[in-house]
């Protein structure tokens, strides 16, 4: 395994030096910069999967409380994103994809981002606990901790398995939504967790394949950097193959109907097909296929959760298995 020298050793730019000068000047940060700290694109997927968990859960939650739970999950996810940007401002500054973010560009100071993230974390957890229930609040707190501390501070700069283990943080939202509606956890939210958990590696590694130079420059031990493109493609193919049955598991366990079964089989098969094409592709074609796989993976997850939402949320699950 290739050892990557730490960023601090190769770059004089230390985290604390990125935007500290900003505090001595009146701020030019707009409200949009603070919204950008919340990683709104990541947040949209979190909200959608949490909504599915909340809607398909048995029992009834008042729409206002359901909205409040989703708001808390969204704000908590955003807070974790702000804490991530606080800690990674040194990495973001040297990566092309992230150099224009509010911290590396100096529009927001690191201290501000840290305070923003902590305040929103506490606010979302306390509100969830007081207005919805303690289990959902506890899961939300654990998710924020897992993303900000376990993934961002510990795993990301330490192991190429960072996004495999760290992917759990993105898999919790449907479980939190379910817990908000029921006050408990069952097999169904665990299956939804597993779908996102096994979906994350092929999704993220497909993106990181085309960003390997960026990650290498920043000293982040992403799989393509430390193990090479071919090994990454092989891992993508393995996880895609595992994802196929995991994606179908809600139908196999009798929680979803025939429409979900057909969509998850077709989507899973296409994920495997894309990953096999990627495994054989080289050069610019590999970049193109990796981007196609990345784009399709988003569609795949959206369709699976949308199918669950329609079938279970509206009582249209026809052809469910019963054991």
């Amino acid at each position: 395994m290739t050892r990557i020298p730490s960023l601090a050793a190769r770059h004089p730019l230390q985290p604390s030096a990125v935007a500290d000068d900003a505090r001595f000047e009146p701020s030019l940060a707009t409200a949009g910069d603070y919204i950008a700290l919340l990683k709104p694109r990541v947040m949209s997927l979190v909200i959608f999967t949490a909504l599915v968990g909340l809607v398909i859960a048995p029992g009834h939650i008042h729409p206002v409380l359901g909205f409040t739970a989703l708001l808390c999950i969204a704000v908590g996810a955003g807070a974790a994103g702000a804490l991530n940007m606080w800690y990674e401002s040194d990495i973001d500054a040297v990566m092309e994809r992230t150099a224009k973010r509010p911290l590396p560009s100096g529009r927001i100071g690191r201290d501000e981002a840290l305070a923003f993230g902590i305040i929103l974390s506490v606010f979302s957890i306390v509100t969830m606990g007081l207005m919805v229930n303690a289990l959902a609040a506890g899961l939300l707190a654990f998710t924020i901790f897992f993303y900000a501390v376990v993934y961002t501070i510990w795993l990301k700069r330490f192991t190429p398995q960072n996004i495999v283990i760290g992917g759990a943080a993105g898999a919790f939202p449907p479980m939190i939504g379910w817990a908000a509606a029921t006050g408990a956890i069952g097999l169904e939210p665990i299956l939804m967790f597993l779908i996102i958990f096994f979906w994350t590696p092929p999704h993220f590694w497909a993106l990181s394949l085309s960003r390997a130079d960026d990650y290498a420059r920043a000293g982040v031990p992403m799989l393509p950097v430390v193990a090479g493109a071919q090994e990454t493609k092989r891992q993508i193919a393995i996880y895609s193959a595992v994802l196929l049955p995991v994606g179908m598991s809600p139908w196999l366990f009798g929680f979803a109907g025939a429409a979900y079964a057909a969509l998850s089989l077709l989507g899973g098969a296409l994920m495997v097909a894309f990953s096999m094409r990627l495994l054989r592709a080289v050069g610019q074609r590999a970049d193109r296929v990796a981007k196609q796989l990345f784009g399709f993976s988003i569609l795949y997850l959206f369709v699976l959760f949308a199918a669950l939402l329609v079938e279970r949320g509206f009582g249209l699950a026809i052809g469910r298995l019963s054991w």
């Binding site: 009146p26 701020s27 940060a29 409200a31 603070y34 409380l65 207005m131």
Partner: protein, 56 residues
């Protein structure tokens, strides 16, 4: 008198861009606070007295 002393005498004078940014942030904070007031009021109506009657 030096430029630094001038700046001290006049305090910090915001540029137009800084004023616009501050105004935008202030409006965003106001809208957020107003939304939260309405949300917590509606939640209180929905949950009723049960909001205060909870195990610790």
């Amino acid at each position: 008198m030096s430029a630094v002393a001038d700046k001290k005498d006049n305090g910090i004078v915001l540029t137009e861009a800084q004023k616009r940014a501050r105004r935008g942030r202030s409006i965003a904070i106001a809208v957020t606070l107003a939304t939260l007031v309405v949300l917590f009021y509606v939640i209180t109506l929905v949950k009723g007295p049960g909001l205060l009657n909870r195990p610790l």
